[in-house]
Every structure is written in C-alpha cells, then in structure tokens.
Symmetry: C2
Subunit: 109 residues, 2 copies
C-alpha cells in the first residue's frame, strides 16, 4: 500500500517538542514533523543528505556557519555530513524532512 | 545557499496544466508542482524512486494496478520502475514530488 495517511501513524518524540511520523521506500525516508513553538533541534550531523519543506510556521536553521529563516512553503537542502540545528519560531510549525539514503534508525511505525 | 523560495524560481510546464519548480542536491531532486484542476499526468515510469506529499487539493494516483485518492497532507511512495499516472481533482492542487536518485533531466532553474 503506497499511500499513507499521517494521522493514522503513531508519532515518536524525536527531540523534546518534536513529534515525527516516518514513511520510507528503498532510497528515501520521509519524517513529517509537528514542532512545538520555541522547541530546538540541537546541532548535529549525519552522513545522509537531508532536504525538506516547511509546511506551517517558521524555522530558523543554522546550516554550517549560516543561519536562515525558512518560512512556510520554502525549501532547504543540507548536504550529508554538514552540522545543522533548528529553532522553531514563536508559533508551532510543521515540516517535512526527507533523508537519502534511508535513515534506518528512523523506521518507526 | 541551501534555502530556496519557490516563488523566485522560474517554473517549467512539465505536462499541460502542470507547472514544476525544481531544487536538488546530490541524492534527491524536489519538484514542487502547481496543478490545474482536471489536468492529467499520463501513465509513465522511470527508474528513480518517487515519493511525495499532496500540499493542496486531491490527486487520484494509479500506481501499477491500484488507484488511490490522495488528499492534502497525505504521502505516497512509488517504487522505481513502476508505471503510474495522476488525475487532478476538480480543484487546483499543489504537491511536492521527490526523486532519488536525482532526475538529471529535471534540473531547471
């Protein structure tokens, strides 16, 4: 069944205030995020390429040494191995993160 | 510059009624689609894995022999090599398609 309704999928708390629902194929994993206002994803890196779109609200990304405000409808790409962090704005936010290759440790359902 | 504002990117008409703006890294290509009501993406296949999210409206996907109505907020995965087609509903729609590996022929800016 290749079509998924996120509300039917159990979320996992990835970071405090960051709920993730994940979906995957052979080459990509989607992480659909519900982010509490003011929550923070601490600086980290992984070998996987990460890209995504902000669906609601605003996220302040620091990617390497640059900080960018990413608004709803805007798209970001983070090369594999580059350190990054995220601060959620004053309103709750939603975003879709996509990882390639698949992050095996993010396969929860 | 890893952050993109789609409105600043020139679209290309991928199929009649289907405007695409593309963004890419090393492993993934994003195609952000504005789809006219009633438009059709004819049955086709490609070796790339395709996954995505419907952002607005409804899309009727036929993936292999199964037909699925995919609504805003829902997610789809299409394995590489599997034939698929799309019919847009009675309202305009928006969707994000993600391809891995990168579809080289979709690199327009």
């Amino acid at each position: 069944m290749p079509v998924y309704v996120p509300a039917q999928r159990q979320p996992k708390e990835l970071f405090p205030g960051a709920l993730s629902r994940t979906f995957w194929g052979d080459k990509m994993l989607f992480s659909l995020l519900d982010l509490a206002a003011g929550s923070v994803v601490p600086r980290h890196s992984h070998p996987h390429e990460q890209a995504g779109i902000v669906l609601e609200g605003e996220l302040e990304f620091t990617i390497g040494d640059e900080t960018h405000l990413v608004k709803a409808g805007e798209i970001f790409f983070i090369p594999g191995g580059v350190e990054h962090s995220v601060k959620v704005g004053a309103q709750p936010a939603k975003a879709l993160d996509v990882f390639s290759p698949v992050r095996e440790e993010y396969k929860w359902a």
